[in-house]
C-alpha cells in the first residue's frame, strides 16, 4: 500500500487555542476516507492543514514527499481543497471559474494555453457543465454551483481531493449525484478525504471513517466499527439507533422515545 497522506502528530492552534491536538493520519492512494465528528472537532482544520492553508506542526508527507519540501505551487498541483463555503465571484463565467483551477500548472508570467483549455473542457464534460460553460456563476442552481466548484478543483488535476461538507445545502437527489460523482473520481485513482455531517452517507460512500473529537482522532475504521451508538453518544452527545441494511450499509437515525 502506497500512502497518499502520511501525517503524525499534526497540531494546529488558532490564537493559542489548540484545534488539532496531535492527529495521526494515513490514507492510501485511491482510498476514500470520511472525516466525521461533532461541530468544532477539527474536521475543517485538518483539511486545511493537509491543503497547507493553516500553519501546522508535526510531520506530514504527501505521496511520499515531506510537505516542507514542496513549494506552494507543487503542493497545489497534487492537492485540491473544496471548501464548505467557497467564495463565489458572482459575475464570473463557469468556464473562467474552472480555468482558475489551472493556476498551479502555470508559470508566473504564463497564460493558459490549448492544453489547459482541453483539460477544462474535459472536466466540464465530466461534471455535466458543458452547456452551462458561458453562464455566470450567479445564474446557477445550488447543485450546479457545487459541480462547478468541484470542476475547478478537478482542473487542478490533483491526486488528493479534499472535500469539506460537499453535500451541505443540497437536496437528497443532488447529494447522491455529487457523491456518486466523487466515487467515480476515486475509481479513476483520485484519493479523497471528505468531512461529512451526515453519518449514513459518510458510511455508505467512504472506505473508512475517521472520528475526530476535541482535535484528536478517537476512532478509525470501517463504518460498522466507528458508527456505534456508544461512540456517537460519547462524542456527539446523541442517542441514535444504528441499523444495517441488506447490502451491509450502516444507517444512523436519532433514537426518539415513544410519546
Amino acid at each position: 500500500m502506497t500512502a497518499m497522506v502520511s501525517g503524525a502528530g499534526i497540531r494546529v492552534a488558532y490564537n493559542g487555542h489548540p484545534v488539532l491536538d496531535g492527529v495521526d493520519i494515513e490514507v492510501a492512494v485511491g482510498e476514500w476516507v470520511g472525516l466525521i465528528g461533532p461541530n468544532g472537532a477539527g474536521k475543517s482544520t485538518l483539511l486545511r492543514a493537509l491543503a497547507g492553508t493553516v500553519q501546522s506542526s508535526g510531520s506530514l508527507s504527501l505521496a511520499g514527499r515531506a510537505t516542507e519540501r514542496l513549494s506552494r505551487r507543487e503542493r497545489s498541483r497534487s492537492v485540491a481543497l473544496v471548501p464548505q463555503q467557497p467564495t463565489i465571484p458572482a459575475a464570473m463565467t463557469v468556464i473562467d471559474y474552472v480555468m482558475l483551477g489551472r493556476t498551479p500548472h502555470l508559470g508566473y508570467f504564463a497564460t493558459e494555453g490549448k492544453g489547459d483549455l482541453a483539460v477544462v473542457r474535459r472536466v466540464l464534460d465530466d461534471m455535466g457543465l458543458e452547456k452551462l460553460a458561458c453562464r455566470t456563476l450567479d445564474a446557477l442552481s445550488g447543485g450546479e454551483l457545487q459541480r462547478a466548484v468541484l470542476a475547478r478543483a478537478l482542473a487542478q488535476e490533483p491526486e488528493l481531493l479534499l472535500l469539506d461538507e460537499p453535500t451541505t445545502a443540497l437536496d437528497i437527489g443532488r447529494q447522491q449525484a455529487v457523491m456518486e460523482m466523487v466515487d467515480r473520481l476515486r475509481q479513476r485513482g483520485h484519493t479523497v478525504i471528505s468531512a461529512m455531517h451526515d453519518l449514513t452517507i459518510a458510511g455508505q460512500f467512504s472506505d473508512r471513517l475517521l472520528l475526530l473529537s476535541g482535535g484528536r482522532v478517537v476512532a478509525s475504521g470501517r463504518s460498522r466499527e466507528v458508527l456505534t451508538p456508544e461512540l456517537i453518544l460519547r462524542h456527539y452527545g446523541a442517542k441514535v439507533v444504528v441499523m444495517v441494511d441488506d447490502a451491509g450499509g450502516v444507517i444512523v437515525v436519532p433514537d426518539r422515545a415513544p410519546t
Binding site: R73, I95, P104, F109, E130
Partner: protein, 343 residues
C-alpha cells in the same frame, strides 16, 4: 447552433473600440478649445511627424505652436493620468475585492495633499518642488498604511483598508493644520486639491511616463493573478498563489502610478471607480480584459472630461475634479440602482 467554448481573453473587438475611442477623443481634445484648430489640419500635422510620411498640414505657425506646446501635452497628460487612475482603481478593487476601492484608498491622496500643502505654504509652488513633495507625501502615507495594516504575511486585506482610513484621516488633519497656519495659500491649495491638467510643455508628461510604464507592465503581467484573487485569499492560496506577495506587488505598482498622477495633476476623483465599473458592465469581470481596457478607456474618459472642463465656460476653466465628480456621482447612483456593482 453551438458557440465555440472560449474563456476570457482580450478579444480584438473591445480592444479596437477602446483604441478608436481614445483616438477620436484625443483628436477632439487637441482640436477644440479657446482657439479651435481644423481637425484635418491637426491630423495631417500629426501624421507629418511620423517618420517616412511628409504632409503639408496647412496649419499656421501660431496654430502649430498651440498644437505642440499647449494642446498636445495637455491631452497626452490627461490620457496618462486617466489611464493610470482607472487601471489603479481596477487593480485595487481586485486586490481588495471591494467595489468601492479607489486609487486613493491607502492614503495616497491624504499624503500627497499634505506634501503639496507644505510645498505651497513654503512658497515653493511655482518651482518643480510641488510634484516631488506631493509624490513623496503620497508614498510616505502608503508606507505607513502598510506598516500599520498588513506587511505581516497573515494580515487580511481589510486590516489594510482600515489602516488606510486612519492614515488618510491623520494626514488630512495635518494638512488642515498647515493650511490654518498659512491661510493666504488656501485658494492655491484648494485649486490643487480639485485637480488640474494645466501644463507647461512636456515636463509633466515626461515625469509620469516612467511610472506609468512600470505600473502598466506589472499590472498586465498580473492580470491573471487578479482573476485568481476573486476567489478569496484562502482559496487563491490552495491554487498555489502566494497571496500576500502578489497583493503587495500589485498594490505597490498601482500606488506608484497613482502617486505620480497625483503629483502632476492633483486629486481627480471618480475616474478610478467609474471607468472600471463601466467596463465590467460591458465586458464582464475578468481582469484579462479590464486591465488593458481600463488604461485606454480611462485615458479617453479624462481627455473628454478635460475637454468639457476647458470649453464649458471658456475662456475660463472648470477644475477637472469638478467635471469628473459631476459625471461620476450620477453614474454611480445609476449603477447602484441597477445593482450591478461587481468586483
Amino acid at each position: 447552433m453551438t458557440t465555440p467554448l472560449r474563456h476570457s481573453a482580450l478579444h480584438s473587438g473591445p480592444l479596437l473600440t477602446a483604441v478608436a475611442a481614445l483616438g477620436l477623443v484625443a483628436l477632439a481634445g487637441v482640436g477644440f478649445g479657446a482657439v479651435s484648430l481644423p481637425l484635418g489640419g491637426v491630423t495631417r500635422e500629426l501624421l507629418d511627424h511620423i517618420p517616412g510620411i511628409t504632409l503639408d498640414s496647412g496649419l499656421g505657425e501660431r496654430q502649430a505652436a498651440i498644437l505642440w506646446e499647449l494642446r498636445l501635452p495637455r491631452v497626452v497628460l490627461a490620457g496618462f493620468v486617466g489611464g493610470t487612475l482607472a487601471v489603479a482603481g481596477a487593480a485595487y478593487q481586485g486586490v481588495f475585492r471591494n467595489p468601492l476601492a479607489d486609487p486613493y484608498l491607502l492614503g495616497v491622496a491624504g499624503g500627497a495633499g499634505l506634501g503639496a500643502t507644505i510645498a505651497i505654504a513654503a512658497g515653493a509652488s511655482s518651482t518643480g518642488v510641488l510634484p516631488i513633495a506631493a509624490f513623496a507625501g503620497g508614498m510616505v502615507a502608503v508606507v505607513i498604511t502598510y506598516a500599520l495594516g498588513g506587511v505581516g504575511a497573515r494580515r487580511s486585506a481589510n486590516s489594510l483598508i482600515l489602516a488606510g482610513v486612519a492614515v488618510a484621516a491623520f494626514f488630512a488633519a495635518m494638512q488642515t493644520y498647515v493650511q490654518q497656519r498659512s491661510s493666504d495659500t488656501v485658494r492655491e491649495v484648494f485649486t490643487w486639491i480639485l485637480g488640474r491638467l494645466a501644463t507647461v510643455g512636456w515636463g509633466e508628461v515626461m515625469a509620469i511616463v516612467p511610472f506609468f510604464a512600470v505600473m502598466a507592465i506589472v499590472l498586465v503581467v498580473h492580470r491573471r493573478h487578479l482573476d485568481v484573487l476573486a476567489v478569496g485569499e484562502e482559496e487563491a492560496a490552495t491554487l498555489g498563489v502566494h497571496v500576500p506577495r502578489v497583493r503587495i506587488i500589485i498594490v505597490l505598482a498601482a500606488t506608484l502610478g497613482t502617486a505620480a498622477a497625483v503629483s502632476v495633476s492633483g486629486l481627480i476623483g471618480f475616474v478610478g471607480i467609474i471607468v472600471p465599473h463601466m467596463l465590467r458592465l460591458v465586458v464582464g469581470p475578468s481582469y484579462r480584459r479590464l486591465v488593458v481596457l481600463s488604461m485606454l478607456t480611462g485615458g479617453a474618459f479624462l481627455i473628454g472630461a478635460d475637454l468639457l472642463a476647458r470649453t464649458v465656460i471658456a475662456p475660463a476653466e472648470l477644475p477637472i475634479g469638478v467635471v469628473t465628480a459631476f459625471v461620476g456621482a450620477p453614474f454611480f447612483a445609476v449603477v447602484l440602482h441597477m445593482g450591478r456593482m461587481q468586483t
